[in-house]
Amino acid sequence: MAESTKGSVDRRGFLRGAAVGAAALVTQPSVALPQPPEAPARPAAAAPSNAQLGADTETPPSGGRSRIVEHPASDFMVDVIKTLGFEYVAANPGSSFDGLHESIINYGGNKLPELLTCCHEESAVAMAHGYAKIEGRPMLALLHGNIGIQHASMAIYNAYADRVPVYIIAGNWRDAGVRNNGVNWYHSAQDMAAMVRDFVKWDDEPASLAAFAESAVRAYKIAMTPPAEPVLLVLDHNMQLRPMPQAAVRIPRLTMPTPPAGDSSAVREAARLLVAAENPQINAGRLARTPNAITLLVELAELLQAPVNGGGDRVNFPSRHRLAGNGSGQADLILNLEVQGGGGPGGPTGARAPNAKTISISALDLYIKSNLQDFQHMADVDLAIAADAEATLPALIEEVKRQLTADRRRALADRGARLAEVHAQVRSVAKEGAAYGWDANPISLARLAAELWAQIKNDDWSLVSWQGFIGGWPGRLWSIDKHHQYIGGQGAGAMGYGAPAAVGAALANMKHGRLSINIQTDGDLNYAPGVLWTAAHHKIPLLTIMHNNRGYHQEVMFIQRMASERNRGADRAHIGTTLREPNIDYARMAQAYGMHGEGPIADPRDLSPAIKRGLDRVRQGEPALIDVVTQPR
């Protein structure tokens, strides 16, 4: 049967245990007391443990008991993990998965996957989140018991709301009968996944190696099937430590399902509506799972000569395409591709005709959970196609081609010319807007974006941070036309995502030789800045440019509004919302974590040379940070 883990030392309990031990030495009672048993006493009516019930019990050792286990079950777990093709495993170390950890670095050779040392579980999962949006497949993250899951929970929810696959394994001391007293009890749970079940797509706690192999492969398949989401496997600590059974354990073959495409009659009807529409509008949400979606959407838009709002969650459409934008006038037909939710009370109605029709193609119609309200208002839709939009586009394109007559093509060409004019105007307006505050100190975000563009535009670059807090200036000024050039935002909008997701995305970009850029908000970085050390330690090339507005700026505006609407003035809106007195020195923070850091830079004349120095470092294969003091928005 399983070896007791007596004698193992939990990471987080080590110091506490040492202190208690020392105290015990100096307060040794002079009278003899009953000695504690060698092993924790089992409850009188304990049910058979999982370990006892496991199908993979080993042959009892012959002869004397040895603590040497040369072929532990966690080696087999690594075999299973390797079949799934993970490149990296992100983890903050924890004793609940020490068996698997040891097998990854020794038995697995610390390759495929390679272990990434993270300073916080939230960072580990957020790194996996950013990585998946570049690489298109999940990274493995290991979490330490229920405390690791709690630390990681916000990052899991972000990935869930962003429809991004993250593959999570958490350790647990499932069998209370052999669980050491003390901290391991605090870190264990009867139903470990319960605390995040509302925002993982699937979870399991396999009771045997055979079950682990099956669940591990199943979890990958579920995570990657649209809509992609995080999955969680809970792994018993004792099961990791057991000797491998002599009989071979089957590893199921992974065969990914084809993503669900739309029903052919519904697609035909959608094409009919699109071809007939006088002023259609295409909106893309989390459409592009792969770079091919961009190609498909361009083809559809050009066939229809319809404007495309590429949204802010993925690169769905080239930002400088003549059809990029919202077009003009009131839309009489709206095609939503993986767009979450609808208008609802108080929501924007957009420029749409009163009798406009809406078509939705979304895999979200195939999957919804009840508790957390990430699904938004119920959209008013005339034709809802429950399918993956990217997988449906080829059939839709073919139907549109089939239904387009020569006369109709000529009419649509005229529409396309008008839309190209509108697009050109929008670009000019953006240029004019960027000029305002050009010489301002602190530095305007438009200038920051422009100066960056000048130095990266000839590289294979990738913006691995969200544009929402920087006025969307890269999207307005840069040419963004490749899938990896922008990864969108947090998903659930929670802070603490930005820095680790950028590092994870930069890691994915590294092997492609891409130049990764992170425009980093100060409030976000301060959630878990230790990820800067992870970037330095693993030599992940990434230029971080601080958008240092010295506050949780959105909150400044909220409190200002609240105080004003209550007629109390707004001169105390900075209380609890700003990061001043003292100002945080991000250059020294970066240096402390082991990377190039410089700043603060508030004079726009100093910006371009600083960016160049930072890029020089990044092009040599290391991370760098430039602290830029910026305008609020």
């Binding site: 802010g312 004019e432 707004a570």
Partner: protein, 193 residues
């Protein structure tokens, strides 16, 4: 966590989609000055002339654009300006009005009351409107701050008329931005494919 989620919701309402998003303030183009580009006019039953009049403070004219042919917020194409009897380079008639307020005190108020939060330290705009160049008279500025359409209202209890005059005076001192044509980097970007 509750605060975090609250932040999320409101953020989602405030932030404009960055990629391919069209500035909500995008004006009509000179060449396409039709109701098609101002769909709201027809929907509201408002004529173009009425719209023009409403966009410009009484007696004033929109400021010149930084880009010939492309117009800034509330600015109107030459044709429309001509119908109003104005010229494209006609500055607001009250820009020359002497600012009687204390600009230094106004700066303190601008920062302390977080005007910068939405309008930028340079008055160049951001989450809120651009303030430079200031197109509003002191009277219209004060009236707007008391009863705004979008920004939070500031009553006399929060900011007195004299304080608003100081703020208005400070905004007048903020430097104008350079024209896009004088910024090679922006011109380069505009000329890129």
């Amino acid at each position: 966590m509750k605060a975090t989620l609250c932040r999320v919701v409101v953020t989602a309402c405030v932030v404009i989609l960055p990629i391919g998003a069209v500035d909500a303030q995008t004006p009509a183009s000179p060449s396409a000055g039709t109701a098609a580009l101002r769909p709201g006019l027809a929907a509201r039953g408002e004529s173009l002339a009425a719209f023009d009049e409403r966009c410009i403070p009484s007696g004033g004219v929109a400021p010149p654009s930084n880009t010939p042919g492309i117009l800034g917020r509330r600015a109107l194409p030459a044709g429309r300006l001509a119908r109003l009897g104005a010229t494209p380079d006609f500055h607001h008639r009250l820009l020359g009005q002497a600012a009687a307020g204390n600009a230094q005190a106004g700066k303190d108020l601008y920062l302390r009351y977080s005007c910068y939060a939405c309008h930028g330290y340079a008055g160049h705009g951001g989450a809120g409107a651009r303030l430079v160049p200031m197109r509003m008279t002191l009277a219209s500025f004060t009236a707007y701050v008391r009863n705004p359409r979008q920004m939070p209202p500031y009553s006399t209890q929060a900011l007195t008329d004299a304080q608003l005059e100081d703020v208005w005076a400070y905004i007048q001192t903020l430097p104008k931005s350079p024209l896009p044509k004088d910024i090679p980097l922006l011109m380069m970007m505009l000329n890129e494919k």
